[in-house]
Each structure stands twice: as structure tokens, then as C-alpha cells.
């Protein structure tokens, strides 16, 4: 997939995101009832980009 991003991590993320978008709905990420998704445990949940954690909290 062509992207405007230059960095490896971003190109890799773009490719991963594209794979997920084409995945079946039941394999896409979603929060589960009863799960704690605080901090970087929710790093794929766009509403929760609150912290710059510098690798401390994961």
C-alpha cells in the first residue's frame, strides 16, 4: 500500500491497518465488556489516546 509516510513503523502500521480493514468484521478489534482498556492496553482504540507513556505503562 502506498502511503505518504516515510518511516518504517508508519509504513508497517499502514499495511497492518489495511489488512485489518479487509478482515472479516468478527476479527476486527473491539473492546470487550468487562475489560479494562486503560493506558496502552487500548492502544488501538482511537478514543483513548491520552497518554505519552514512554514505555512505562504497557
Amino acid at each position: 500500500m502506498e502511503t505518504k509516510q516515510k518511516l518504517f513503523a508508519f509504513k508497517l502500521a499502514a499495511k497492518e491497518d489495511a489488512k485489518k480493514e479487509s478482515a472479516k468484521p468478527d476479527t476486527q478489534w473491539k473492546g470487550r465488556d468487562g475489560d479494562s482498556v486503560a493506558g496502552c492496553t487500548d492502544f488501538r482504540f482511537p478514543g483513548n489516546l491520552r497518554y505519552s507513556d514512554n514505555g512505562i505503562y504497557c
Binding site: 475489560d35 496502552c40 488501538r44 507513556d53 512505562i56 504497557c58
Partner: protein, 335 residues
């Protein structure tokens, strides 16, 4: 006598919510300092008199007050960006306000002579994953061969040398900086640890400029999340290999893989405890792999790592209680 437990965090922190309730249910007092309300919602009256800092923090919305002399324990739970009353500070005013607030807050916190979970100096020293690998190896853990490079050639050589796939993982933040930019500027929200299989090899040419971290891919029988709280060790066995979506990075919480409590071999348990304590930390959450051959492989330690997602799946691992008890004991002067 139990003094007050100061919890430094942000507003959106379910770990703090639950631990605060637990501390209260045990009959003890805590005071929550949400950094994303600080200093806007707090009135400070602090004076250096007679050789020490004295005074109070008052949470304006409720009037709840904390005297510095009351603080017996501090839980440094989360970072968050400061908030200022004026939303119209110029960029330079905001930069100054942030620097000055941080300096004041850390100056006061570092002046406290009390129990910490964990002291900011220890947390800072413990966060560097490159150093963690060397320390873990020195303490007897198996550690995957790893590479940091900002050119493709060393990555190709590394991949050939390990004779199989490698993984890429971010060291500072899985968000890829998304939390630092406006929503309209976000191009991605994050990247899990990713196995660099054949289909990704063409991307390696973009390993430039920024140092990238790679490790030999380690075959997994299962994974362990080992949480050290004081001297106590809570180990959860994570059956991450039961689903394709959690094979490389188990943090896909939409997947209902099995978690269970496990008793570690005594030597491994002590090694985890020693690793965390070697930094002066009172808390650490380690990620380990157990290979099909039964080898325990160190991946990383998170000095402020999450624990609720484990306790929610394995209620017998009573880490909320353990954190609350540690802080209460500390506030009593027993630590």
C-alpha cells in the same frame, strides 16, 4: 496512625478509581491528584519554613484538602498533561507554564519522605528497554537477540543471522505519536508488536532516520504477565497462541484467550522480584515468554504497567488488594 495516600494520576484512570475505592473500604484516606486538572483545579499554599516544606493542596471543586505533612505514601500511577485555567495561553506562555508547573510539582514530591510506589527516580531509571535486556540477561533470564538499526542492511543481516523471522516493536509508545498530534493529523493510531515475515521485507528499505528495534522471533508455548507488588508476585499464564490475533502481541483484548493463575518456579519468581527491586521499584509488570522447551524468556518490564486486565480475567490474582495494602502499610510507616 495511617497517614494519607497521595495518588498521582489523570482523570481517566480506572486503576486509580478502583484502588481508591478499595483503600476507602479498608478505612483509609487517599487524595487524588489528577495531573490533567493540575494546577487549574488545585489551590496551592506551600511554604518552606523551618527547613521543610509545609502547606496544603486544595482540590477546588470539592474543597478536599491535603497537608503535605499528612502524606504517608505516594502512588505515582499515571502521567498526564497539565491543565491551566486559561485556555487562551499563547504557545510560549503554555510552554513556560508547563515547565514551571512540572518543576514545582516534582520539587515538592521529591521533598517528601514517605513510602513510594514507585519513586519517580526509580521509574525513570527503569523505563529504558535497551538497558532492561542487559540487566535481565545478567540476572539469568534468556533474552532474545536484538537489534537497533536505522539502515536496512543491518536488519537484513540480523534476519539472516537469526535464521528466521524477526519482530519489530516500538519502545517508547505503541501509539506512534498519535497522542501528541491533533486528531486531524493522525495517520494511524498505533502498531502492535509485529512479526516481520516475507510479506513485509520490502518495507525494510524504509528503516532510515529513526532507530528501529528488532528481536529474534521466539516461539511461544504461552506468555506470562508477572506483576510484582512490593514483595508479592502475581503470575498469569496467557494462552496467546490459541488465536492468530494474539500470537505475536497478546494485547488484542477483543479476543477471548484464556488467562490463568500460575505458580512460577521459585527461581523464576525470585528473579522477577529481584529484577524489579534492583531499580528500587515497588511495582513492576514483566512480560515473559515460555518457549515450547520450557525456557523463560524476558521481553520487558513496565514499571507502571496495567494489572486490571489480568485481575478481571483471573479474579484470584488479587492485585487491587495488594496495591491498596502496600500503600496503606506504607502510609502507616510499615514500609
Amino acid at each position: 496512625m495511617t497517614r494519607c495516600i497521595l495518588i498521582v494520576t489523570g482523570r481517566a484512570d480506572i486503576h486509580a478509581d478502583i484502588v481508591i475505592e478499595r483503600i476507602a473500604s479498608k478505612g483509609h484516606r487517599s487524595f487524588r491528584l489528577n495531573l490533567d486538572e493540575f494546577p487549574a483545579a488545585f489551590a496551592l499554599d506551600l511554604a518552606f519554613v523551618g527547613g521543610t516544606w509545609r502547606g496544603t493542596l486544595c482540590y477546588s471543586p470539592t474543597g478536599d484538602e491535603l497537608a503535605l505533612a499528612e502524606i504517608g505514601a505516594v502512588w505515582t500511577r499515571k502521567q498526564a498533561e497539565f491543565a491551566f485555567e486559561s485556555t487562551e495561553l499563547t504557545p510560549q506562555e503554555k510552554a513556560y507554564a508547563t515547565q514551571e508547573t512540572q518543576h514545582v510539582l516534582l520539587g515538592i514530591l521529591h521533598s517528601l519522605d514517605c513510602c513510594w510506589m514507585s519513586h519517580p527516580v526509580a521509574v525513570r531509571a527503569a523505563q529504558w528497554k535497551g538497558e532492561q535486556l542487559q540487566r535481565a540477561a545478567r540476572m539469568g533470564f534468556s533474552v532474545p537477540d536484538s537489534l537497533i538499526a536505522n539502515r536496512p542492511e543491518p536488519v537484513h543481516r540480523f534476519r539472516a543471522a537469526v535464521g528466521g523471522d524477526i519482530i519489530f516493536k516500538t519502545l517508547a509508545s505503541s501509539f506512534l505519536g498519535a497522542e501528541k498530534v491533533a486528531p486531524e493529523d493522525r495517520v494511524t493510531t498505533g502498531l502492535a508488536t509485529t512479526r516481520i515475515t516475507e510479506e513485509y521485507l520490502d518495507l525494510l528499505d524504509s528503516v532510515r532516520e529513526v532507530p528501529c528495534f528488532f528481536q529474534r522471533h521466539v516461539g511461544k508455548h504461552y506468555e506470562l504477565r508477572v506483576t510484582v507488588i512490593g514483595d508479592r508476585v502475581f503470575a498469569a499464564k496467557i494462552h496467546s497462541q490459541d488465536d492468530d490475533r494474539t500470537r505475536t502481541d497478546y494485547r488484542d483484548f477483543s479476543v477471548g484467550i484464556r488467562y490463568e493463575a500460575v505458580t512460577l518456579p521459585a527461581m523464576i519468581e525470585q528473579r522477577c522480584r529481584d529484577f524489579v527491586h534492583s531499580y528500587g521499584l515497588a511495582y513492576g509488570a514483566l512480560d515473559l515468554i515460555v518457549t515450547p522447551d520450557g525456557d523463560y524468556v524476558f521481553l520487558e518490564n513496565n514499571p507502571g504497567g496495567q494489572f486490571l486486565f489480568v485481575e478481571q480475567r483471573v479474579p484470584g490474582l488479587r492485585m487491587v488488594d495488594a496495591v491498596a495494602d502496600y500503600l496503606i502499610e506504607g502510609a502507616r510507616g510499615e514500609r
